[in-house]
């Protein structure tokens, strides 16, 4: 996310013009859940990340597909094939954790601040609209997260 006031007018307009087409969450139910120190945490990112050997994100995916990133994947094996050219990639080139903070989660689990780190994490290619066409795949991922006993997800948009 970024501060609107920091953007030039044309970029500000681009971002504000998206608002009428955004879905509304529309669910008022509030789930409290377990204390953080007992939670199992996964990352779901829209950075278009995947393993080096995976098929890159492309038109053939209907842009709503996701890729699985095993929790034990090494940083050297995780690459990016996002469509958008309008966000910074030099941060990701310097440090995977800037968009996929797997090392931070491992440290927090080691320190007992969270319970554990999930075995599997997920990445979508977030550029594209309308975003609600991702809902079927998002529900699919939610089901997979439940099977991995995950009860907290850190969403990292770029």
């Amino acid at each position: 996310m970024v501060r609107l006031a920091d953007l030039p007018e044309w970029e500000r307009d681009h971002m504000l013009n998206k608002i009428p087409n955004l879905p509304r969450f529309g669910i008022n139910a509030w789930v409290a859940g377990r204390p953080l120190a007992k939670r199992r945490v996964a990352i779901v990112t829209t950075a278009g990340l995947h393993l080096r050997g995976d098929r890159p994100f492309g038109q053939g995916d209907a842009r709503s597909a996701y890729r699985v990133i095993p929790g034990n994947a090494s940083a050297a094996d995780i690459v990016m094939s996002q469509f958008s050219t309008n966000f910074d990639r030099s941060g990701f080139q310097q440090d995977l954790n800037i968009a996929f903070p797997i090392d931070r989660l491992r440290e927090l689990a080691g320190d007992g601040i969270i319970g554990s780190v999930a075995d599997f994490h997920y990445s979508f290619m977030g550029a594209g609209s309308p975003v609600n066409r991702m809902e079927p795949k998002a529900r699919e991922v939610a089901g997979l997260l439940k099977k991995d006993k995950v009860d907290a997800v850190l969403l990292t948009p770029v």
Binding site: M1, R24, P56, G91, L154
Partner: protein, 227 residues
Amino acid sequence: MREHAEAIQPPRTLWVPFPLGRPLGVPNDPAFQRRVVISALRLLERPSGPVLEDFPEDVPPIAEDESQEGMACPISFAPDMAKATLAEKVAAEISQLRAWHDLSVKNRGRTATGVAGAALEDLVGFIAAWAGGKPRTNFRDDILPIDALRLACDELKTFYSEAVLAQPGTHSIESIQDWFWGQTAAGKLLFDLHAATLKSSDKLEKFFADNNLVPRRIRHTIGKKEN
């Protein structure tokens, strides 16, 4: 965008005032990143919601003198390159930047290149052929040509960015972009591709030109002089 979260109203959002592409704020700063992650995860302990909270810290600014130092030097060509084609000049640039890129890989133990699945020199030939409207051979058959083109362009940008990040100085997001698009033959080649694909009657090609090739910031600055 905070305004997007206000509209969608997800149960818990930590708004962060960082550049797009850097949701954790500062690369290679584990302490800063840890504060961001903990602030986000602590929202899970709130008794009611929806919660939209602001992260209180900004990314530390790069001092102006450091930023100036971080502006990469233009790549100089040997006199016999004066009549070279743009693709040949890009190949020469790649050759000159290779040592910096090798250093980048050595320092970081990883590279974000290698996604397209072909040698960089071959990708340059593919891009130049597309930009010049010449026959071209798709370098992989498991993806659409337009996806191959996007990956080839991203590969080129990534190689240059990683190479310059290994050079001395502090490199801001803007200084890397301005150098690539304003001072390199590779940037010029991608501007040529942009001009060619923008005129295309193919819907996917036109969409690529409009959205996935030249950053909007560059189109509104350097691009106005190029096109």
